[in-house]
């Protein structure tokens, strides 16, 4: 419990900054919605005449693109990207922070098991992410109500917003396993930016080639917003894969961390 509180306190500032940033991104996007709808009335009709391949290339789904939900999806991809960086930062710093600041000796000579240490740190990161998501969700929903010109399905809106949390959880798990395996991480930011962007680009590759199987390669592609809007649910196979990735990464992290030699500096 004491470790949990200590870690939460350490994350407090960054959680606040990240939450505000995510809300700013979504607020920025939402603020354009009114002018967007005004502009697009005519265009919508025009678009209907164009081939499906072209629309797909831009990710335009005719039914949804002009609704607030469709518009939200665009902003959401940036929010997800930012959120992934936040989660990756948290995950990567969990163990590497102790090594870098040379406090591992302090913590690990206390009467606690390494499993307890990792569990508490993991919980703290989890709480930080969940808090971010709760505040973000509240703010985003509020904003959507402010700018929406017509009624929209709130439960789909929430489903869409929750994808941020799921992607974050996957990256949190990835971050932890990296921080446990790599002996010494000098700059958390470098590692996390590199990983997140690598997967982001991987996602861009797979979306153009259109092959279903390639979507498994990037967590950014696990949640197809068009599918969610249409079916108001997630794709089970990707949820399962995401879950497996998380369990494997976290499980392996516990295993490796328990056996790991903590070297002096």
């Amino acid at each position: 419990m004491n470790i949990l509180l200590h870690e939460l306190k350490a994350y407090r500032k960054s959680t606040i900054i990240w939450t505000i940033s995510l809300i700013m991104v979504v607020a920025l996007f939402m603020s354009f919605y009114p002018s967007f709808t005004k502009d697009t009335e005519e265009f919508r009709k025009l678009l209907e005449g164009y081939p499906a391949a072209l629309r797909e290339a831009f990710g335009i789904n005719l039914d949804n693109f002009f609704s607030i939900l469709g518009f939200y999806c665009y902003g959401l991809s940036f929010v997800t990207l930012c959120g992934a960086i936040q989660a990756m930062n948290l995950g990567t710093s969990i163990v590497s922070k102790e090594v870098r600041e040379k406090t591992a000796d302090f913590l690990l000579t206390k009467p606690v098991t390494r499993t307890t240490v990792l569990t508490n740190k993991l919980l703290a990161a989890l709480i930080s992410i969940i808090l971010t998501n709760i505040v973000y969700l509240a703010a985003a929903t509020l904003l959507a109500y402010q700018v929406a010109t017509e009624d929209f399905n709130v439960s789909i809106f929430i489903l869409l917003s929750l994808t941020v949390l799921f992607v974050q959880l996957i990256f949190l798990a990835l971050g932890i396993i990296i921080s446990v395996i790599v002996q010494k991480i000098k700059s958390v930011l470098t590692v996390s930016l590199a990983t997140v962007f690598a997967f982001y680009f991987l996602g861009m590759f797979s979306s153009t080639s259109g092959e279903e199987a390639k979507r498994y390669l990037s967590p950014f592609k696990y949640f197809d917003t068009a599918y969610i809007i249409e079916k108001s649910s997630y794709e089970a196979s990707f949820l399962i894969i995401g879950g497996i990735v998380m369990i494997l990464a976290v499980g392996a992290s516990y295993f490796i961390y328990a056996k790991k030699d903590i070297h002096s500096v």
Binding site: D105, L108, T109, P111, T113, I262, S264
Partner: protein
């Protein structure tokens, strides 16, 4: 009862440094010195005891419990002070000590205040702003605040001024009187000589000897210096047990280990003007162990 028992402990890092086949034990209530030069394996041994690193083979027990298996349980009663202390950024001394105390299921606030007073430590300062010596003091308080039964110190005195060092040793002796066992690793012999009952000498990852400080001195050689009226024949003291014989004008000096009566009889037979017989200090014993194979 043995508080620490190390059996055939080996830790290798690839093919490089490490410790091999180390065995010794530390009895309850003693202050045990662990000496050797830099890189001999002191920290590796200590870090293995604390299960910060895991043995390649062999094992160690503390309070009769295996150090790997029962690590958290054992650590309740261990206080550890590393040679270099680094603590979390952005914390006050007080916060860090309270955080440290929160790991032990007892109220340590009184002890924290006592220790801080003894060590002359300002609890309200930020750790970032402290000098190296003051950070060290935080480390000392941090290691002792839960009144551990076993105190493990890894080259603890660096960065402390002589006055603080003195206070720190008094503190350790006080803890020892109250029943704490102390494992004290160092390469500074005088402090080991001053504080410890027994020592283990480690060299290149192996234990050279484990002795009581007093026996260590007894069982080794004595330094003889004999001044005579005329220069002695260099072969005069040609006895078994004589080492490093040097004749310089009227002064003959040598080291001797063995039955002292034989030398005394030899000396009685000649006309001497002055005689010195000295106990070697730990430094010389230490050098002795290190030179033997060099």
């Amino acid at each position: 009862m043995n508080v620490i028992e190390i059996k055939n402990l080996t830790k290798t890092y690839g093919k490089a440094r490490g410790i091999s086949d180390i065995s010794f034990s530390v009895e309850e209530g003693e202050i045990f010195g662990f000496i050797g030069p830099n890189g001999a394996g002191k920290s590796t041994t200590i870090r293995t005891l604390l299960s910060l690193i895991y043995p390649t083979s062999g094992s160690a027990t503390i309070f009769g419990k295996d150090t790997v298996q029962f690590a958290p349980e054992i650590k309740k009663e261990i206080g550890y002070l590393p040679s270099e202390v680094f603590y979390y950024d952005n914390m006050k001394v007080k916060d860090l000590l309270n955080y440290s105390a929160s790991f032990y299921k007892k109220d340590c606030s009184k002890r924290i205040r006592e220790l801080a007073e003894i060590m002359d430590l300002d609890l309200n300062k930020k750790i970032d702003d402290l000098s190296l010596g003051n950070k060290k003091k935080v480390g000392i308080v941090q290691g002792l605040l839960h009144e551990p039964k076993l105190i493990i110190l890894d080259e603890p005195t660096s960065g402390l001024d002589p006055l603080m060092q003195q206070k720190f040793f008094e503190l350790l002796e006080e803890e020892n009187r109250k029943g704490a066992t102390i494992l004290f690793s160092s390469h500074i012999l005088t402090e080991v000589q001053r504080l410890c009952n027994r020592v283990a000498i480690i060299k290149e990852g192996k234990i050279v000897t484990v002795e009581k400080i007093s026996t260590l001195k007894e069982n080794t050689y004595k330094k003889f210096k004999v001044e005579t009226k005329s220069t002695l024949d260099p072969n005069y003291f040609n006895l078994a047990g004589v080492n490093k014989l040097e004749v310089k004008d009227n002064l003959t000096s040598f080291l001797f280990k063995g039955n002292i009566n034989e030398v005394m009889r030899k000396i009685a037979d000649i006309e001497i003007t002055n005689l010195w017989i000295e106990e070697p200090d730990l430094e010389e014993i230490f050098m002795h162990y290190y030179e033997k194979e060099a």
